[in-house]
């Protein structure tokens, strides 16, 4: 057989790429396309039938409860992102700038440990701490306060979101800030910038890309999370994941649930797109 290097190289490359392309199609592109198609199906007598009708879309998007749930989810995921970014920052700052190399390595290792256990289990453990007769209220009672209701509130939902996102956000922020050229921080100090002021003037601008990516992750995880709002928030106000569950349960409305899911995906696409565009935006005066 004659040797054709170009052709062989292409085949070789293709062989390696094939599994990932296959994976993407079977487990991502395929299901998404099916979900889009399904959002146009009809449900008759609790059974889904193939169709191409806009009735699910018009019904869901014209309902107040959908938009209430939509904006509630957007807002609480945003609040979660702001909280996680703010709570994580001092810890990440200390790990990146004050801790030694080995302390930082240990801290990152310890921050990975929470991912060893199921998020659901970690969420349930909050019952012991946050319930009316839980640890926090017992401690507050000794100084004559409480009891406070913390479960089945927005606060409970946020505690759940923090359980999910904080370790990841601290890791991402730490790694980003540890990679900053320390000379630039010293240069700012040398030019009259106080240690505290360097955070806004130098450190945040320098770690912008990593910080935005940490925030995007936090938003995506919170926005799509079912466990925290369901168990700790008590689905007082249903978030979109809870709405999907309710919709599928009530009368097998899979097509309407698909509409909610597509709206969620579009929102996350938009957030991720805008976030990454901001993260990698060229500084002023760059070519």
């Amino acid at each position: 057989m004659p040797f054709k290097p170009g052709r062989n190289v292409n085949l070789y490359a293709l062989t390696w790429r094939l599994p990932i392309i296959f994976w993407q199609f079977v487990f991502f592109v395929g299901p998404v396309l099916f979900m889009v198609a399904m959002s146009f199906f009809l449900v008759k007598n609790y059974r889904m039938t193939e169709a191409f009708e806009f009735v699910n879309w018009s019904r869901m998007l014209s309902r107040g409860y959908f938009w209430d749930s939509y904006w509630y989810t957007v807002i609480i995921a945003s609040v979660s992102t702001v909280c996680a970014m703010c709570i994580a920052f001092p810890a990440a700052f200390a790990l990146a700038f004050r801790a030694s190399e080995s302390t930082r390595r240990w801290a990152i290792f310890l921050l990975i440990i929470p991912f060893f256990t199921s998020y659901l289990v970690r969420t349930f453990s909050w019952f012991v701490i946050l319930s009316e007769s839980g640890v926090v209220n017992a401690m507050l009672a000794t100084i004559g306060l409480g009891p406070y209701t913390m479960l089945n509130t927005n606060f409970g939902t946020l505690v759940g979101y923090m359980t999910l996102t904080l370790p990841l956000v601290v890791i991402l922020q730490t790694v980003t800030m540890a990679n900053i050229d320390k000379t630039l921080v010293e240069a700012a100090r040398n030019l009259g910038c106080s240690a505290f002021r360097t955070i806004w003037q130098v450190i945040i601008p320098l770690s912008k890309t990593g910080l935005i990516i940490a925030a995007i992750f936090c938003f995506i995880l919170s926005f799509g999370d079912f466990v925290a709002p369901f168990y700790l928030g008590g689905s007082q106000e249903p978030t979109l994941p809870i709405l999907i569950l309710d919709t599928t349960k009530s009368g097998q409305q899979w097509p309407r649930a698909a509409v909610v899911a597509i709206m969620m995906m579009l929102t996350l696409f938009a957030i991720a797109f805008i976030g990454i565009a901001l993260a990698y935006r060229k500084p002023k005066g760059a070519k």
């Binding site: 050229d181 000379t183 630039l184 010293e186 240069a187 700012a188 100090r189 040398n190 030019l191 009259g192 910038c193 106080s194 240690a195 002021r197 003037q201 130098v202 601008p205 320098l206 912008k208 060229k282 500084p283 002023k284 005066g285 760059a286 070519k287």
Partner: protein, 361 residues
């Protein structure tokens, strides 16, 4: 004489158990161009960082205009530094970089802009004011870094090997820019470098450091012609160093016996003792060569090992039959009269006054 601008009073700096610098005792005079030179790890950068407040001395005092600076935070000092890596802020334009220090000092936007543009213009890079740092060339960045420090109108400017990242031809250009600026502004420059040519070309005084200590302080000429000790003599490079024993001592000269022969040297102020060891140096450019043996005076018979050309100057590397190395520096046109090839044997000679006895340390 006026009060020195900066005084280092028995300053020592330790990092853990590692002593970075010790017994730093020197002063910086108002308006001088001082170079601190030494091999890497000699503590020169630590010295500069202590002056900027980025490190605190472990022992001793640093005084600026009579005021003890040990515990003054870096941002409360007026000691801008030009960094080896330049440390320009990549998220800002050239003008915003220059404005940074003024902004931190609370100067209002209009004045900031005016002063930044004036300095960018002075450095010849006004057209790049609104460009991002990443789009500028090495030389242009260098000028932005200088403008960023000088716009603060400091009394003292610190420079940490600022030219080490530049191409050779740019280094020469920037040296001229720096010396002109220093003369024009009349401010004190403290310039840290490992490059002898940079230090000698620009500085009024040079501090040579080795292993965390000051080896010598003096004018470039002092250090070149009269190194204080073996370390400086070796660091300065183009020196011939001979070691031996003091055979005879008179009022102002000594006879030193070395394996390569007996030589007469002026004693200067160095105290020598008959029978003790002594070393002396002769600058490479003060050694003469001849084919015939000189009739009298200091002389050595050597074999040529190799030659090195730098422009019109040539350095000959030679060795006598006792293994003593010699270096001779001369004009290329002067050398061409001899038609030498490696392996040829010639006579070296020098005036007694050219030799300089070292303090043994």
């Amino acid at each position: 004489m006026s009060e020195p601008l900066v005084v280092f009073d028995k300053v020592e700096k330790k990092f853990g158990s590692f002593v970075a610098v010790k017994q730093l005792d020197f002063e910086i005079r108002e308006g001088e161009f001082l170079a601190i030179m030494g091999p890497s790890g000699c503590g020169k950068t630590t010295t500069l960082r202590m002056l900027a407040g980025l490190e605190a001395p472990s022992v001793g005092e640093i005084r600026l205009q009579g005021q003890v600076m040990n515990n003054v935070a870096p941002h409360q000092r007026d000691t801008p530094l030009v960094w080896q890596s330049l440390a320009l802020f990549p998220f800002l334009t050239a003008r915003q970089n220059v404005e940074f220090g003024l902004k931190m000092r609370g100067v209002d936007a209009a004045e900031r802009k005016e002063r930044a543009l004036r300095w960018l213009d002075k450095m010849g890079i006004l057209e790049f004011a609104d460009r991002n740092i990443s789009t500028l060339s090495g030389g242009q960045k260098q000028r932005v870094a200088l403008a960023r420090s000088l716009v603060m109108e400091p009394q003292i400017l610190l420079l940490d090997e600022p030219l080490s990242a530049l191409d050779a031809h740019l280094v020469i250009r920037m040296q001229a820019v720096l010396t002109d600026l220093q003369r024009e502004l009349g401010i004190t420059f403290v310039y840290v470098t490992h490059s002898q040519s940079e230090a000698f070309a620009m500085a009024d005084r040079v501090i040579i450091m080795g292993k965390g200590e000051i080896a010598q302080i003096g004018t470039p000429k002092d250090i070149y012609r009269a190194p204080a000790n073996q370390f400086v003599a070796e660091f300065v490079g183009r020196n011939n160093i001979l070691s031996g024993r003091v055979a005879a001592l008179s009022a102002d000269s000594a006879r030193i016996t070395t394996p390569s022969g007996d030589f007469t040297v002026p004693t200067n102020d160095v105290s020598l003792t008959e029978g003790h060891n002594a070393s002396f140096v002769i600058s490479a450019d003060l050694v003469h060569i001849s084919l015939a043996e000189p009739e009298s005076g200091n002389r050595a018979f050597c074999r040529l090992i190799s030659e090195e050309f730098v422009g019109s100057m040539v350095t000959l590397f030679l060795e006598d039959r006792h293994g003593q190395e010699f270096k001779v520096q001369m004009q290329e046109r002067e050398l061409s009269r001899f038609d030498l090839h490696s392996g040829d044997e010639i006579w070296l000679s020098w005036d007694t006054a050219s030799a300089h006895v070292l303090n043994e340390t």
